[in-house]
Amino acid sequence: MREVIGSNNRILEIDLSTKKFTVSEINKKDRNMYLGGKGMGLKLLYDRMEPGVDPLGEDNMIAFTMGVFMGSGAPCSGRFEAVTKSPLTGIMTCSSCGGPFGMALKTTGWDAMIIRGKASAPVYLAIDSKGVQFKPAKGIWGKDMNQAEAALLKEGAGALVIGQAGENLVRIANIRSGHRFVGRGGMGAVLGSKNVKGIVAKGGEIKIVPAKKEKFKKIVRRFNKYINNNPVTSGTYRSFGTNSATIACNTTGTIPVRNFTGGSHGEVHKISGETMAERFKTKWDTCKPCTIMCGHKGTIAGEERHIPEYETVHLLGSNLEIFDPVAVSDFNELCSKYGMDTISLGGILGWAMEATEKGLIKTSLKFGSTEGVADMIRDIALCRGIGKDLAQGSRLAAKKYGGEDFAMHVKGLELPGYEPRGAVGHGLGYATANRGGCHLSSYVISIEILFNMANPFTPKWKHYMVKFMENLFAAINSLHICQFTAYAVMFEPFLVKVSPFPLLKVLMGNMAPLAMNLMDVSLFPETWHAILGKHYIPYLGMLKFIKAGERVHVLERYMNTREGISKKDDTLPLRLLTEGRKCDAKEHTVPLEKMLKKYYKSRGYDENGIPKKRLLRRLGIKIQ
């Protein structure tokens, strides 16, 4: 096996229309500026794609990019990023996935892959170190994800497949790799529109070796120590998975109930991570490599299934007022069979239930009842009946049938399972997230609720928290490493560890910029430098790393503004801004306008939410 030091730096560009491919290199400047992963994917598409193309048309491109960490043996690094223009939102979308395809593609010798054009007939792509073969997908087209993936995995170590939903251009379709998904933004439909059923990478052709081996080993040891010491990454995630946050969120009124009309419910403990772990005898089933181990599988209804994640449980469970873990798991399985995003699906079903209640559409769906839900999921995936309209996403469905005021989406992307009226900073995060209603762009709820470091109801300093976390997470997603490691890296270093909690709380609540900038996340850039063999300057290197994150975030924003995004889109569903909830006595709403103004100012956007030229120049983004 050939050894590669640091990174491959090779890009595979595939044109499906002509069935040809070209190979190019990632230049050094781009590597330093955009790190890899998400940043690199955005940069590649920024250079290649015109604004205003049809997401489901021939001109759209989809990029799969691996980070520098992938394959190097860094902890929790088994993740890759997919970037494209989303058919659901009409703007750029980036999605991170932890499946085996990433490792397979990287060890085949490619750092990035860009697909454009449209195949005349259904194909699947087989990739090896020399290039790509276009093979007819006769046998697997029309098959569900399980069968299609099993068929493709005969030819390589990792595969990406779409299900029937992707083939039918359902705008919430996802792409699967292993039991992990490129979930949000309807990437499956993009592949489906290009007539690509799957992509399989041979894998195992090269071996990545860090440039500074000794240093890298040392860092990894420290990294693992942090992760293993942190109560979140080593404790609750490891024992109960992501769903361990359920009770905490329910207690503070931040779970979605009944299409985001409530924030807590008495029966939520039935679907909590603890209950599921006990009831289904869970064991680990994670991305590879992983140290945190948040993924679980267990025995549900007599068969071995993946345990639904937090978002799935809340969007397909509490949001529909269904508190039966087996039913939720059934829906989850259907989604992973047909290939649909569970978050968006839950949002759409919630909308459909409320619309049925209000007489806008006629379905058999009803809040609190599992009846008809599975059939509706099938109808959506196969575009039958009213499912055809629901498959367009809640935004377009609401445009057709009405009910835009309770379609819970931001920029077209359905909201995840946190109710922002209980944590207003998180609401700002939803509104400003580049790809739409997204919780992973900035996860301020962790500061507000889960670690209780700031008052969740005041807008004070929330703009700064959102900005900082957006930058940090954009950088983390460009490395590319699991976002959950941020807990360990942020809270385990010496200074934070020894500071008394009340002091941290006061600092965070009143002097957030100081508190956040004192946070030592240098472990991330140190690892990156060690792998690529670059010299790391303490602190300055970290600032550069955060700035790279800012660059990635602003680039994505800038690309979106070229597609027509501005302040008018940075908003939340009306319900969150105007209606108080019954579960909190003070009837909080999200004071978005206040926070948004400060956010734009601190970001360097103009009052309309467009990045100023000065900001783009400072970050070195070429204005097109």
């Binding site: 109560p231 979140v232 992501t242 946050a245 503070t252 603890e274």
Partner: protein, 85 residues
């Protein structure tokens, strides 16, 4: 004793397992009678919890510290900090 108040503590995130409570029910929680005026820390220590710092405590949706005074009919939720995803 006359000055006794009834409280209920619910443990989640596997704390109940660590405390080795028998026949613990998530719905019911742990019912306790404590003398009036005692703080949460006292009640938790009585329940057998060795360390408090890593846990979060909630009373009717509000986060409280272990020094909070208990009132009659309180329902305290006790869990470990966690993230969703």
């Amino acid at each position: 004793m006359a000055n006794e108040i009834a409280i209920r503590i619910k443990f989640f995130s596997g704390i109940d397992r660590e405390l080795k409570l028998e026949n613990y029910n998530h719905e019911q929680g742990l019912a306790m009678n404590v003398p009036a005026g005692k703080r949460l820390k006292w009640a938790l220590r009585t329940a057998g919890m060795p360390a408090f710092s890593n846990h979060a405590y909630f009373r009717s949706g509000e986060r409280i510290s272990t020094r909070a005074k208990l009132r009659n009919g309180d329902e305290v939720t006790c869990l470990k900090p966690s993230g969703g995803g």
